[in-house]
């Protein structure tokens, strides 16, 4: 037989080995689609709530299956024992046994779960891909806070080298050449050099532009009275988390303010907000008043986009309701969006009082209420929260 050929290792070939890059990307796209379809389940998972933004989280992904006709569960197989196999001996659970030695191209269903690394940011991006923040009322003086960016605006004959527009410069030269040709007529010599002239030089002109709205603040207001148990707090926390993450995707600088209230409102740290249980009755108005105070002091609505969201189980003292309604109205007037989420784990709803009825009397375009009964509701109600506003906005702009 002829001599065999040996091709030594060459690192440059390593580039070629990355030919799967395109297919990996397509696969990742498909995985993303599947994540988006299952987003409601993922959001309900405790593990993603409240994590650091850059943290990589492992999302178990049901593998993109490649379907074909295969045999089902009642298929017997053959294995090899250590010499003492007896009928009736238990080998273990189903699944793990199959196809151990034999790896034919995926003709066994097996466990098609595997984990994929997704940064929280990526996940949020996927989640919010099709959600838009309702176009809010523009803030006066917003430009004070905006950042400066460069924007192209027209062309100039003078400029710095780096902004030279080669195409336009060349066109300009051709134009001049044709003009000269026409003037000279038959005496034109094709061989003649026709260099660029200072007048041909065309430069892009840049101006600095200002970009609107950069700052936002999210107010998380929560009822911490005795009736808010861990489950209710968890649901509230999930909702706040989504709201914060969502607002963060839309603004460069987002601040969070936590206001806890029972019979009086207090500004607290995140830690206290979620973990410290308190007891006593509920004056919702106290939380709203506190939020209004903070807005007046630090986040003046002319300079800040304010988002406020309040979570409660709806159990308010009767006597406080008129004050609450009044404070809510005031909040609506200073906030871009104000929402109220009533958290009523299933079953509790019928014998407890509800603020939803009270808030029905509040007429404001930027006010929304949602009802959360279990963790699967979080994502749909969050979407509804923004979507409703959008349709509303749409009708408003249609009228205008």
């Amino acid at each position: 037989m002829p001599d065999s050929i040996f091709r030594p290792y060459s690192p440059s070939d390593a580039l070629r080995s990355d030919r799967s890059a395109g297919d990996r990307q397509r696969h990742r796209q498909k995985v993303r689609e599947s994540i988006r379809e299952n987003i409601a389940d993922l959001v309900a998972e405790e593990s993603i709530i409240g994590k650091d933004k850059d943290k990589i989280i492992k999302v178990p992904i049901r593998g993109m299956k490649e379907y074909r006709f295969i045999y089902g569960d009642n298929t017997p197989g053959v294995g090899q024992g250590d010499g003492n196999s007896q009928p009736g001996q238990v080998l273990g659970r189903q699944q793990g046994q199959q196809g151990q030695g034999d790896e034919k191209a995926g003709d066994q269903p097996g466990v098609d779960y595997y984990e994929t690394d997704v940064t929280l940011e990526e996940l949020i991006e996927i989640m919010f891909e099709d959600l838009e923040l309702p176009d809010m009322e523009r803030k006066i003086l917003r430009e004070v806070l905006s950042e400066r960016i460069s924007k192209r605006k027209g062309y100039r004959r003078a400029g710095i080298r780096i902004r030279l527009d080669k195409k336009r410069t060349a066109i300009s030269r051709i134009r001049r050449k044709l003009a000269v040709q026409r003037r000279v007529g038959d005496e034109w010599d094709e061989e003649q050099r026709f260099p660029f002239h200072q007048d041909d030089m065309t430069y892009r002109h840049l101006i600095t532009d200002t970009r609107p709205e950069s700052n936002a603040v999210v107010f998380c207001i929560m009822d911490t009275s005795g009736s808010m148990d861990t489950m209710k707090k968890y649901l509230a926390r999930s909702f706040f988390f989504l709201l914060f993450q969502f607002v963060s995707t839309k603004y460069r600088n987002v601040e969070l303010v936590f206001v806890a209230h029972h019979t009086e409102g207090r500004e607290v740290t995140e830690e206290e907000f979620f973990h410290k249980g308190e007891s006593g009755g509920t004056f919702i108005s106290s939380g709203y008043t506190k939020a209004l105070e903070i807005i007046q002091e630090r986040y003046h609505p002319t300079l800040w986009n304010v988002y406020a969201f309040h979570c409660s189980d709806g159990d308010n003292f009767e006597s406080d309701n008129p004050a609450t309604l009044k404070a809510a109205k005031e909040l609506c007037s200073v906030c871009n969006l104000f929402g109220y989420g009533e958290i009523k784990p299933l079953g509790s709803r019928y014998y407890e009082s509800s603020m939803l009825n009270i808030f029905r009397r509040l007429e404001a375009d930027n006010f929304q209420t949602v009802l959360i009964e279990r963790k699967e509701d979080i994502w749909p109600s969050f979407k509804a929260f923004l979507a409703k506003e959008r349709t509303h906005e749409a009708t408003v702009s249609a009228e205008a």
């Binding site: 070939d13 395109g22 297919d23 993109m64 006709f69 045999y71 294995g79 090899q80 034919k104 003709d107």
Partner: protein, 477 residues
Amino acid sequence: MAVDWDVRDLEYWDEKIREKVEEFGLSCFPQEFEVCDHFQMLGAMAYSGMPSHYPHWSYGKSYEKLKTMYDYGISGLPYEMVINSSPSLAYLMRDNTLCLQILTIAHVYGHNDFFANNFTFSSTRAELTLNLFKIHADRVRKYMEDPSIGVEKVEDLLDAAHAIAIQCRRNLAIKKLSIEEDRRRLLDVAKPLSDPFQNVHKRQTYVQPDLQKTPPSPEEDILLFVRDHNPYLSEWEKDLLTIVHERERYFLPQIETKIMNEGWASFWHREILNSLHLPQELHLEFLVRHNQVVRPFPRGLNPYYLGLRLWDDIKRRHDDPTPEEIEKYGKPTKTGMQAIFEVREVDRDASFLRRFLTEELMRDMDMFQYEPRGEEMVVSKVSDQDGWREVKETLIKNVGLGTVPVIKIEDADHGHNRVLYMRHHHDGRDLQLEYAERTLAYIQRLWGHEVMVETAVNGKKVLLSYSDKGFSTRPLK
């Protein structure tokens, strides 16, 4: 790992190995080796070793999966990878020791000889393989770049085609008849045989065969049938179906001969290395590595181990039969070498096991059959006097195309309504229904009209169908 060799060492040993290869009478395609690192190996594996292959997301998935398993140490990388082509192309891992490279090179020649001589590979046209894959890749890319087609459409069609690619003809030795030839055959078969005692016998009834039916007799090659009988497919779609079919056809022999092929290569790397007079430390490492490769997997089946045991046993039974074996099988007429060279040409895993896996071997390897019982996997039969035949049958059902359900097209115009009617030839194993549903959806996509498959679930006949209204099942009488 520190590397203790360079390419000159490989060439030195390769020459010695090739001397032995010729001495032993292996006849190989010319061989090329490429030294690669683990990234390149992963890349090669994702595309079944093909230097060029058409793109599809599933290969990206396969890469990610291989890489994850490798990164987490769940599975290592193979020492080598060799593809059936002429010249044959093999990848050697850069990080392996000299001993492993020598073992691998010898192993590769074993595979190479098998590719070149086993009858299942005679349809693969080895000298055209690499070109064929390249041309296919170029065509698929062209369709992807075509603005009127695009990646999405091409991938959707490939998804569907991949789902049924393996539903193709199982025995290439049986000639495929054209529709006309098949109709003529049906007429011939229907003709009553001439009967010298026709005066005494009852008159034979003549049953008119249904010549209108397409296909005239059940058809296994679903992909090609759809390609040829769906007039609404466009040219590029038909071309993609052909490409996928040809790819699958190329890989089928490897699926069909896994145990034989790995056993054969292991047999020869052992013979060759034992005859090379390796320096002692290399030889000791070789023994360790060899035993790692061909060790039995507890509770599983290692094709390297099973294959090697069988080849050794065939050889021994011819060279050195026991008195009982002479009594049972007669006196051997060939030497062991003649016998194994003949077998490597004419068998595939199913027939190899059927012919040469003996009761004694099965008992010696303690082979058992397991079945699901409730949540657990339970040993249901062992290789004792009563059970071994059944265990063997089950094993044969689990190798090669035995793992692929037999589904044939019965009628392409069922109910005179262009419904594609298929039948699953049930052998005791039910179809996995989720997979069946999704696969039917793909066939429906390709056929463009309702498709049905007749099968049985838990002993009851069922008709699964998929139309534009979705999936439905109904019991059959």
